[in-house]
């Protein structure tokens, strides 16, 4: 790289140089796609609480769905590429990234990892193609952070299973063709594949949500749902099943949050250099510069962390506790950056004309789902002290 090249205010540490050609091309492709198809409409979708389900086909055509899985019509990229794609998606909106995370890491991954050959062949190619949309039902109205204690129960009836219970806060719930539902059984927690239209199974959207408005969140009701023996994921029992999926999804989130933060920082930087008060751009005031410099440093650290964890994952050495480290830091910092950016935009910061408050509101969900800040703190606490503080 030529030494006289200007410092990039966004990629200040020149992390671009750490990426391979393929990784860069994947990132740039998602970035262009999002600029063409999402950014021009996202404020509208958010305002009207609409998820653009019609984009699923195009998102699939790029290869975004289950992109880091191998075989069954999936692209089979490395983990860093998956992360970069999440960053670009979430730079547009956390809702879009949530859709892709849920499909790839929470619905396809459990089938890919814990499913039978028949289940994989039946579902994965159609899910990669966006023809079948999936969701992941773990959380219940009374069991969020503590899913081990869930109430949804699957009882044997001959070779069939009968499921009863309610799942809450389920992303993609009402648009899903296939729900991966986790339920208590006599053998511990197991995963079940519940197709849309199965008698006794229904989904209802959660209304009046002020975060992730361009994403569908639903309640799933299972009322004596009868499933055949081959609906259960055969290869896993216990909380390990859902947790293995969450670790995959959290990996995408810790990259995604970087995208949301980047968009807020860019908006603030642009605003600070053009908005004039007291006769000069507000970016010329020391207080504003302090905010911008703080954002720059925290954004850079989050980018470095994401890339480091991505490289660890690609070399096979990433531990779930390290994913907690990344999810906890990057989402918290992204939310702080969004809030700081909001102040720089003044009154404009509260409108959908600028992306900041939308990201800020979205990040409140991202902070809570996939393990709250508190829970990840306890994961780290346990990892370093050997003492569990959950109960």
């Amino acid at each position: 790289m030529a030494p006289d090249r200007k410092l990039d205010p966004v990629d200040f540490l020149n992390l671009d140089a750490q990426l391979g050609d393929e990784e860069r091309l994947i990132r740039d492709t998602v970035c262009t796609f999002v600029a063409d198809k999402v950014t021009p409409h996202i404020a509208d979708w958010f305002e009207h609480g609409r998820f653009p389900v019609e984009l699923a086909g195009e998102v699939a055509q790029l290869g975004l769905l289950g992109m880091h899985l191998r075989g069954y019509g999936c692209a089979g990229t490395n983990a860093v590429s998956y992360g970069l794609a999440c960053t670009e998606l979430e730079a547009a909106d956390s809702g879009l990234r949530s859709f892709v995370s849920v499909q790839g890491s929470l619905a396809m991954f459990p089938i890919w990892k814990h499913g039978s050959e028949e289940q994989k062949a039946e579902w994965l190619p159609r899910m990669a193609a966006g023809e079948v949309i999936g969701c992941f039902g773990l959380t219940e109205p009374d069991h969020g952070s503590d899913p081990a204690d869930m109430r949804t129960y699957a009882k044997r009836d001959g070779s069939d299973w009968i499921l009863n219970g309610t799942k809450m806060w389920i992303t993609n719930g009402s648009i899903a063709d296939l729900a991966v539902v986790w339920a208590q059984t006599d053998e511990g927690i197991r995963g079940f594949l519940v197709p849309r239209g199965t008698p006794g199974f229904s989904a209802h959207d959660i209304e009046q949500k002020l975060s992730l408005r361009a994403s569908v969140t639903s309640e799933l009701v299972l009322d004596d749902v009868r499933l055949p023996a081959d609906a259960v994921l055969p290869e896993v029992a216990g909380l390990r099943g859902p947790l293995s999926c969450l670790s995959e999804a959290r990996f995408g989130i810790l990259w995604g949050a970087v995208g949301a933060a980047r968009t807020c920082y860019e908006a603030a930087l642009e605003y600070a250099t053009t908005r004039v008060q007291f006769g000069k751009p507000i970016g010329a005031f020391q207080l504003t510069q302090e905010k911008l410099a703080w954002m720059l440093v925290e954004l850079g650290k989050a980018q470095l962390l994401a890339l480091h964890l991505g490289r660890l994952k690609d070399s096979g050495g990433l531990r779930p506790q390290q994913v907690s480290f990344g999810k906890m830091n990057n989402v918290r910092i992204a939310l702080d950056i969004a809030r700081q950016a909001r102040t720089i935009l003044g009154a404009n910061g509260v409108t959908l004309e600028y992306p900041v408050i939308r990201h800020m509101n979205n990040l409140e969900s991202v902070l809570t789902y996939e393990g709250t800040q508190e829970i990840h703190t306890l994961v780290l606490g346990e990892a370093i002290t050997g003492l569990s503080a959950y109960r």
Binding site: A2, E22, L25, T32, Q61, L62, L64, A75
Partner: protein
């Protein structure tokens, strides 16, 4: 069908572009390179022809090492292989020399149809297609916004001020395409993963029977004598609408000879 699509890497249109003071050529190193926008339409059109008629799409790029990025992208979109003409001797070639060098390569690799964008966003000569056709002794179908191939015949629609012409020729031929002829596809991730396994044939001038004396800055028929930096953009004019806003805007446009 043997389809060759010419792809040029140009400096990102959004970046600040500079000429190098030492030899008054474009500084291609300090800015990001992208595929010339019109060439993206050419790539898409070549892929559509391949999909409709079977055959193979070869990317032909003349440019520095860095242009390999653009070749990669074209291969990711679905082209089958590439020829990269890269040699220090080519630096600073003008359009006449470029057409000579590329025609030499095209003779060597053979083609049924050569597709390219009607101009590049850096030099904006818009003459390469005509020169290639002339040197190769084949028909040129310029400014196409529609291309159809039927056996050994190619038919295009050529855009003109008054509408369009229907043009027909027999293959082999050279076609230049305009914007909006199609909607270029995004590279798919599978395409991106497959691209690195596709063959890229790197040729120097000697490999392509190009006479080094006939290319490059010193022998160019055109010369950049001098250049000045573009003046900074002037402050915009704000028109206050006091009932006569429309008229004021019209007067402003007229004063700038836009209307």
């Amino acid at each position: 069908m043997n389809i060759v699509v010419c792809v040029k890497q140009v400096p990102d249109t959004w970046a600040e572009r500079k000429l190098r003071s030492e030899d008054k050529t474009l500084d291609r190193e300090s800015v990001d390179g992208v595929i010339n926008e019109l060439d993206e339409y050419a790539i898409e059109e070549s892929l559509r022809i391949k999909e409709a008629h079977d055959g193979e799409v070869t990317v032909l790029t003349m440019g520095p090492e860095k242009a390999a990025e653009s070749i990669r992208k074209a291969l990711s979109m679905g082209a089958d292989k590439a020829v990269h003409l890269v040699d220090d001797a080519l630096h600073g070639s003008d359009v006449l020399q470029t057409s000579y060098a590329m025609a030499q390569v095209l003779r060597k690799i053979g083609f049924d149809v050569v597709i390219l964008g009607s101009e590049s966003t850096d030099a904006r000569m818009g003459a390469l297609a005509a020169m290639l056709a002339e040197r190769l002794g084949v028909a040129q179908l310029s400014l196409a916004n529609k291309v159809e191939i039927d056996g050994g015949t190619i038919r295009t629609q050529r855009v003109a001020d008054y509408g369009f012409d229907r043009v027909e020729a027999s293959l082999p031929a050279v076609v230049s395409v305009v914007e909006k002829i199609n909607e270029p596809r995004y590279p798919s991730f599978k395409g991106i993963m497959a691209a690195k396994k596709k063959p890229v044939d790197k040729l120097g001038v000697a490999d392509a029977d190009i006479d080094a004396a006939k290319v490059g800055l010193t022998g160019a028929a055109t010369e950049v004598v001098d250049f000045v930096a573009a003046p900074p953009r002037e402050k915009g004019t704000i028109v206050k609408d006091e009932g006569d806003g429309g008229q004021k805007v019209a007067e402003f446009l007229a004063s700038k000879k836009f209307i």
